[in-house]
Amino acid sequence: MSEKTQKRTQVADVDRSLYDFIYSEEGYERYDDGLTPDIVRAISAKKDEPEWMLNMRLAALETYHTKEMAPNWGPSIAGLDMDHISTYVSPKTKQAKSWDDVPDDIKNTFERLGIPEAERESLAGVGAQYDSEIVYHNMREEVSKEGVVYTTIEDALHDPQWEPVVRKYFGTLIPPADHKFAALHYAVWSGGSFVYVPEGVTVAYPLQSYFRLNAEGAGQFEHTLIIVEKGADLHFIEGCSAPKYYEANLHAGAVELFVKDGARLRYSTIENWSKNMYNLNTKRARVAADAKMEWVSGSFGSHVSYLYPTTILQGDRSSCEFTGITFAGATQDLDTGCKVILNGANTTASVDTKSISKDGGCNTFRSSVVIGRHAQNARASVSCQSLMLDDISRSDTIPAMDVRNATASVGHEATIGRISDDTVLYLMSRGCSEAEARTMVVGGFANPVSKELPLEYAVEMNNLIKLEMEGAIG
């Protein structure tokens, strides 16, 4: 390890050997560490993008340079040195349609993460992101027969049928000026997913995309754009697992979700970032009349997270449910939560979050519910349960409610607790070790979230919890 690398080691990591495997980056293309218009042009040229996209990138870069670095709230991101984060790493392979075409080292990584099995098991398509480029992308024929499009944004931009659609929606829900890292995202975005579900189509199987970071110092700026037309129904799963690195890593993706009249979108995420990651992701959904947005979110890993999936209930009678869990261990400061803006009449929002803190980890739950002037009879309920596993961890709950309509009904409840000795003793008296007993209780606490996930992901989340719990007992 070079001296420079050592100097920038930010985080004392814990052993996560199961997920920590790094393959050589030989033959991979990477750009200079700094961020200049030339780099942005190079990214755009390599993708052979339409001019409007290049212009959008350059404008976003301007915005990025003018925005303040850090918010004056939340965990510190002072450890993030943007001048030394290489913003783009491209794998040496083109996108593969079949598993056999994927290079061995990349394949090994995915195999250890269980992707092929998951793909074989009833999942409709796989778009797995390795570094910043899609390397594996497959989709079941029956899904495309229905007219469902699942591809990369890059490919959609090269398709005359879909380029105007991308242009119409891209960057409209999360504008580049939203915050500094949104601006950064639009300047250097690469990879991600474009999903279009035509009117009335129900996608029978979940579509999934698996993102990974595998380049020291590289950021990840994937963009997800999903449009679910009237009366359509989609479940999209985003899963992330990153290997261990010594330099600060940045993730600043953007997820834009458009749910049209009477449609339903379920967006599930399992994030498992390495513990030096700065996860500054932005996710937003706009929900039309009678439509429903469902979020399921499991946030593991990362050094610092700022993550507040936002739902705008624009149409009358639209609704959203948010079910989430975060797990903060040693060296982690996770500021997560969600925002709901209820603009339509008779809209309903239900937020149910859980957090687990251990070994000095910090969890902050931040929620914002805004009920607009015209949101007659809007209803919102927010519930937050925190589990503290020791005396040195920290858990805060910061709910905000801004109600501008007198007919609205809002509720908030928060509980905080620890694992009771009686429970541990009970489980031990049946033969579980203390560590197993505690893990079982934590798994039970997380169960309402894992129940919402498809089996493979629920299993993965339970495994992550087990990994996080290992070594919890002195």
Binding site: Y426, M428, S429, R430, G431, S433, G444
Partner: protein
């Protein structure tokens, strides 16, 4: 009766020997009286305020017999001692079935296929008149007192311990639930060649059991002992006589 001076083997209560007792109640060493006299199958009706207040007290005592005093609850459990709780703890989110599977798999001697395990659980549930939907629920969550006791019995029959200590398992049960629990206890006696230590305030649960030995404790002190027929005496004359005896003995 062959007293044992040590060793980890528990082969039924006739080899259960208590020694080196340090548990105390109000700074008075308790159990000593019992231990001097007892190394047999035991049944100890307690009156409220008896010295054995917690399962821990019992665990310690019994651990002595097994010479595993210092061991943690899980090691005692794996050594074949089963403690049934008066108020089993609710563990939200933990599915009962997978919990049962986990604790069974902790015991190599109970190794069985998933199919066999399912059949075994079904069999016991039927024996205990448990609705099959029990199994899909979370461990003890939202169950009535009687249902929780059934789940305790289910675990007892599944784990086949060498020694089962039932701490007021009958408390708060209605007649029907009580009959189910005593059926569970009978099934345990029939199927597992183990010893039972039943702690109770009420002799009802014993009606259908053949009790080998009875001990009466008042405030931590053994005040009477006898064969199973002592229970009939208690039924006829109540506990008060023992209270008097305890006072006389300076308890």
């Amino acid at each position: 009766m062959t007293p044992r001076t040590g060793g980890r083997k528990l082969c039924g209560a006739d080899e259960l020997v208590f020694y080196d007792i340090t548990a105390s109640f109000e700074e008075r060493t308790i159990f000593t009286d019992i231990l001097k006299k007892t190394a047999e199958r035991v049944f100890i009706p307690l009156t409220v305020g008896g010295g054995i207040n917690t399962l821990d007290d019992f665990a310690r005592v019994l651990a002595c017999g097994a010479d595993i005093t210092e061991d943690s609850a899980d090691k005692r459990s794996l050594a074949g001692i089963f403690l049934s709780y008066q108020a089993p703890v609710e563990v939200p989110g933990v599915p009962l079935y997978s919990y049962l599977r986990t604790i069974t798999q902790k015991r190599p001697e109970l190794k069985m296929t998933a199919r066999k395990f399912r059949a075994r659980v079904g069999e016991i549930a039927e024996q205990l008149d448990m609705d099959s939907s029990f199994i899909t629920r979370e461990l003890n969550v939202g169950f009535s007192g009687g249902e929780k006791k059934k789940i305790e019995m289910l675990q007892l029959l599944l784990l086949q311990p060498k020694l089962a200590i039932l701490d007021e398992t009958d408390s708060g049960l209605d007649v029907d639930a009580l009959s189910v629990v005593s059926r569970g206890i009978e099934a345990y006696r029939a199927s597992c060649d183990g010893a039972l230590l039943i702690i109770t305030h009420n002799t009802r649960i014993l009606e259908r059991l053949s009790v080998d030995h009875t001990h009466v404790m008042v405030r931590g002190r053994l005040v009477a002992e006898g064969p199973g027929s002592l229970i009939d005496d208690i039924d006829a004359h109540g506990f008060e006589q023992f209270e008097v005896a305890a006072q006389a003995a300076g308890a």
